[in-house]
Amino acid sequence: MKRRTLLKTGATAAFAAALGAPLRAQDGPMKVGFVYVGPINDGGWTQHHHHSAKEMVEHFGDAVELVYQESVPEGPDAERVMTQMCLQGCQIIFTTSFGFMDPTINVAAKFPDVVFEHATGYKTADNVSVYSARFYEGRAIQGHLAGKMTQSNKVGYIASVPIPEVVRGINSAFIHARKVNPDVEFKIIWIFEWLNPAKEADAAKALIEQGCDVVLQHTDSTAPHAAAKEAGGVYTFGQAADMAEFAPMPRISSIIDNWAPYYIDRVQAVMDGTWESVNTWQGIGEGMVGIGEISSAVPDDVKAEAEAMRDAIAAGEYHPFTGPLTDQSGTEFLAEGEVADDGLLAGMNFYVEGIEGDIPS
């Protein structure tokens, strides 16, 4: 009841500041908020975040309570959803889409006692961390498999939103496809959304009609797999989730996001009072990126090569962006033996040499 009276008195400027303090001291389970951009059963990105969130809850049992909202539009509505979570006493809130960046920063400024974890963004604050996974490591393995498996030498790529993360994935896949198959070409379709099964299916069909027999995707649904299955003889890869229901064909492997260890770690830090704003970017080695079982459709030697690459990346022996590498204009951006630093990767907004077309702008 104390909370309620406090609220009514602190209605204006002191509103938010006055709120944070009493919420901390509440009894009962710690509330952990999750804001999702898609529905929790999208089969990909959001489903996997939700799955990891539930794993986190399982780990802590009654000590935490999960509060979540699905299909939150990226904009002012997201800001309200986060504020609602703060008001209801969430002590840590995970905002799991790039477009929640500015709303997260805005709400975090109003609730200094609540901590925020924003996925895939770049803006941090005293109470805002960012976290992301090195998906491009998985893309290197996909590229290798795609280059080996394609018969038509045409690989389709369903790209979502033109941000560095997606461009980096395309580059990484392309570099490794070319390495094993100098004739391979990439056909890229941008759909400007993270999740839109109808558009994804259309894009997959268009790519298959153009002769692509491997379709990579940076979108969240299983629609491209269904399209590939229908067409037959087309290889696909699970995205964000294993999508094993489409194995062994068309899905021959996948990149799996495994957020659960990070979520457990961060919630524990809030409980212990040791939470600090960090910028986390982890890959296969740390377990944040998983490579799904390479299916029986892939010949054993190719599978062994891909697994060797996975292990080399995990061990830190191989970096997918190792020079010499040139961009589309032919300018060398990494010299022989040079390895890309995180700054270069984080701001990557150009295609490597050999990819046709332009990044939409």
Binding site: L7, T12, A13, G75, Q84, D102, F192, A346, M348, P360
Partner: protein, 361 residues
């Protein structure tokens, strides 16, 4: 046997009663749907309609009602004139987007100006103009080529949507945004920011404009010859023609008015609550406003109330999602039912139910 008999005069009592009855029937059927989903129906309805107004954190939610209702009311007021006159602008969503693009575009062209006295008023003009121009396309096409304004205005929504994507990725993209899509945030640009006039009240210029539009529309409809002509054109186009009302002029004025108000709403939204030109900027206000207009009986005061009711279902719906884990689509279904039942109950305005055998006249 039950028959419907046309009333000699539309029933005044029913025309006031039917929105209320529609709300009540929606609550009941909505409750049944929620119960079928295994959620407590009474608690769900209470969460949606009561908690945002009088619940624990009402001091936060009440101002949010203003933020959510203002664009709905502004757009619906504009639409109501056309709907009364039988001119169907279904593309307010597109005009809303164009208003935002024009307004934000102008602000960003002046960036980083400090002359708020110049930039902000010009933004209002530009936003209004943007919506007006977009609405003039179906208007002029109808006047000169007798095209159907319903189809043209609706299709232009998709054109505007693509234009928004292109702007967020291209011309209006934030040059300091590390290659990510989206414009500069106008909230951090004081000359252009449509900030709350008093902190934590939700009162921004768009809310003022919405209230002003309600009053102006009321006067126009009840005291001005234009309002009379609008009603006449809707009820009896032939009589209107004899009275010297030009049907073409009416089309242009009604579409122009609704476009201008929708554009203005878009501009206030992008400069205030939203802040950024993003591909996900529009969330369907232009379509929801159609429900608001009809729910409010196309009457300014009715629209004001309906706008708040709709805003309430949005905010309460979010709360119900978060607290009761109701799926988002159940909330959307709930909102759709509101219009559906209104139209159904509306039959009672023009007809009365007769029990017993129909007499042969």
């Amino acid at each position: 046997m039950i028959t419907l008999e046309r009333r000699p005069q539309p029933s005044r009592a029913w025309s006031y009663l039917s929105p209320l009855l529609a709300v009540i029937v929606t609550m009941i059927v909505g409750g049944l749907v929620f119960a079928a989903l295994g959620k407590p129906p009474v608690e769900a309805i209470r969460t949606i309609f009561w908690d945002p107004l009088f619940g624990d954190f009402a001091s936060y939610f009440r101002p949010q009602l203003l933020v959510k209702a203002a664009p709905l009311i502004l757009i619906a007021i504009g639409l109501s004139f056309g709907f009364r006159a039988g001119i169907w602008n279904i593309g307010a969503e597109g005009q809303y987007i164009m208003g935002a693009l024009f307004g934000a575009g102008l602000a960003l062209a002046f960036y980083p100006s400090e002359a708020r006295w110049l930039v902000f008023p010009l933004m209002i003009v530009a936003g209004t103009l943007g919506g007006l121009i977009w609405a003039m396309i179906p208007g002029l096409l109808r006047v000169y080529f007798r095209t159907n304004e319903i189809l043209v205005s609706l299709m232009l929504v998709y054109v505007a949507d693509f234009l928004l994507d292109a702007m967020a990725l291209g011309l209006l993209r934030n040059p300091d945004g590390m290659g990510f899509p989206g414009s500069r945030n106008l909230q951090q640009y004081p000359a252009a920011h449509n900030a709350e006039l008093i902190a934590n009240t939700g009162m921004h210029w768009g809310v003022i404009a919405a209230f002003f539009a309600v009053v102006a529309a009321y006067i126009l409809l009840s005291r001005h010859i234009f309002g009379f002509n609008v009603r006449l054109a809707g009820q009896s186009p032939r009589a209107a023609a004899f009275a010297g009302v030009s049907a073409d002029k009416m089309v242009l004025i009604c579409l122009g008015l609704s476009g201008a108000l929708a554009g203005m709403a878009g501009m206030f939204e992008v400069a205030g609550p939203s802040g950024q030109v993003l591909a996900s900027f529009n969330v369907g206000y232009g379509f929801t406003a159609i429900i608001v207009a009809f729910l409010g009986r196309l009457h300014p005061v009715g629209i004001l109330l309906a706008g708040f009711l709709m805003a309430l279902t949005y905010i309460g719906g979010e709360l119900a999602q978060m607290n009761l884990q109701l799926p988002r689509s159940a909330i959307q279904l709930f909102q759709g039912m509101l219009l559906f039942f209104l139209l159904a109950v509306d039959v009672m305005t023009n007809f009365r139910i007769r029990f017993g055998r129909q007499k042969v006249a």
